[in-house]
């Protein structure tokens, strides 16, 4: 979490974006490495489906690689990437297919069978993790998005508010309500 760039350091990212516009693969690699965490957080926050994060994330990076030249104001790269991620996640949410549901069911079955061979502590930890992920997925997207960003990136209220383009107070309120929801959903586990 400490490696995440702060908003006041973002000017340095402009040069990376400029290099990506010129199809510099090293710059692109660096960009993905720096920002993959929050981009994946946005996708999961919007979609609430961890199985889709890889595919949608890949679409986002393809879009960044192919469409960086279309970005008029390089300094506005973060809202641009955010919109790419958000729109890709919304599109994926609309076109969730039966195939994906089937593959998820298969993976869950495989996870269950794998769990049978793991030590008890890991089973408990795994179950708790599964329950937490399920509870976060069950959160309304309104609360899930800032909650995931907060916990994946460690950003403060102002940084989250800037990205989501909302007042700082709203971010705080949503984070309080997200925890309230989760506490209710996980009351048996706490």
């Amino acid at each position: 979490m400490g490696t995440m760039p702060r908003l006041d350091q973002l000017d340095a990212e402009d040069a990376i974006i400029e290099a990506i516009r010129l199809k510099d693969r090293y710059a692109f690699e660096e960009f993905v490495r720096r920002h993959q965490r929050w981009v994946r957080g946005v996708i999961f926050g919007v979609l609430g489906d961890r199985d889709a994060v890889d595919d949608v994330g890949q679409q986002v990076w393809i879009a960044v690689w192919e469409r960086a030249g279309e970005l008029r104001d390089v300094s506005r790269w973060r809202p641009w990437v955010y919109r790419l991620a958000r729109n890709a996640a919304l599109d994926a949410g609309r076109s969730t297919t039966r195939k994906r549901k089937q593959s998820r069911a298969i993976r869950q079955e495989m996870a269950k069978s794998d769990r049978g061979e793991t030590p008890e502590a890991e089973v408990i930890g795994g179950e708790r993790e599964q329950a937490m992920v399920a509870a976060i997925q069950a959160l309304p997207a309104l609360y899930r998005e800032p909650f995931v960003l907060r916990h994946l990136t460690g950003w403060n209220y102002q940084q989250i508010a800037e990205l989501l383009e909302m007042p700082t107070d709203s971010v705080e309120t949503r984070l309080v309500r997200a925890r309230r929801f989760l506490r209710e959903l996980l009351k048996d586990k706490l």
Partner: protein, 211 residues
């Protein structure tokens, strides 16, 4: 009233707990929070629960969203992205082959048609001289107009008038033909018109005979 105050106090405490967890609490607020936690066991429970939720959520999200590590490797993402991007652009290039092929086919068809039109014009040049009806300016190949002209002629009583035909040269075509021996042979073709007009001399003769 005391319930309302209690709810408000709980809500304020909840906000303070969350702010503390998120590292957004001021020193005065932290003091107030600690006082509240000492006084209220429910608030302590709430703070404990939220702390657990935060710890578990961070661990669960790290594992669930960031994956086991493989998808988080920037290099592998780059490889896949560049490969997919290249495949897409190659697909889009091959997609353009279809309209190009259609355009080529259309071009070929147009060229063939033009060649055939050229043949037609040569054939037209070889047609026998056209006959022009004197009573009308319409195209002589138009049957309908020709009938109209005949009916007009009959109605105006000109049918009885004797006609004569005059053959006139109106144009000359010069055609170059490449012979089997490699020489170019020039053919001159006179284009003529046969013009029908009232035979005034015979009319005059007839009139003078009648007299």
């Amino acid at each position: 009233m005391s319930d309302l105050n209690s709810d408000k106090f709980q809500s304020e405490l909840e906000h303070l707990i969350v702010r503390q967890l998120d590292g957004a609490i001021g020193s005065d607020e932290e003091l107030a929070l600690n006082r509240g936690l000492i006084r209220d066991p429910q608030a302590r429970q709430l703070a404990d629960d939220y702390r657990k939720i935060d710890d578990w959520a961070t661990a669960a999200l790290e594992s669930a969203v960031l994956g086991s590590g493989a998808p988080f490797e920037a290099a592998s993402v780059l490889e896949r992205v560049v490969a997919i991007s290249a495949r897409r652009s190659s697909y889009s290039r091959s997609w353009w082959l279809l309209p190009a092929a259609i355009a080529a086919a259309l071009g070929f068809a147009v060229m063939t048609r033009e060649t055939s039109t050229l043949d037609d014009s040569i054939r037209v040049a070889a047609r026998p001289p056209l006959e022009v009806q004197p009573t009308t300016n319409v195209h002589p190949w138009s049957t309908h107009r020709g009938l109209q002209a005949d009916s007009v002629r009959r109605a105006s009583g000109l049918e009885a008038e004797p006609m004569r035909s005059l053959k006139r040269n109106v144009d000359r075509d010069l055609l170059g033909v490449l012979g089997d021996d490699g020489n170019i042979y020039w053919l001159e073709v006179d284009r003529t018109k046969i013009i029908h007009e009232p035979d005034r001399s015979s009319a005059v003769r007839r009139a003078s005979g009648d007299l």
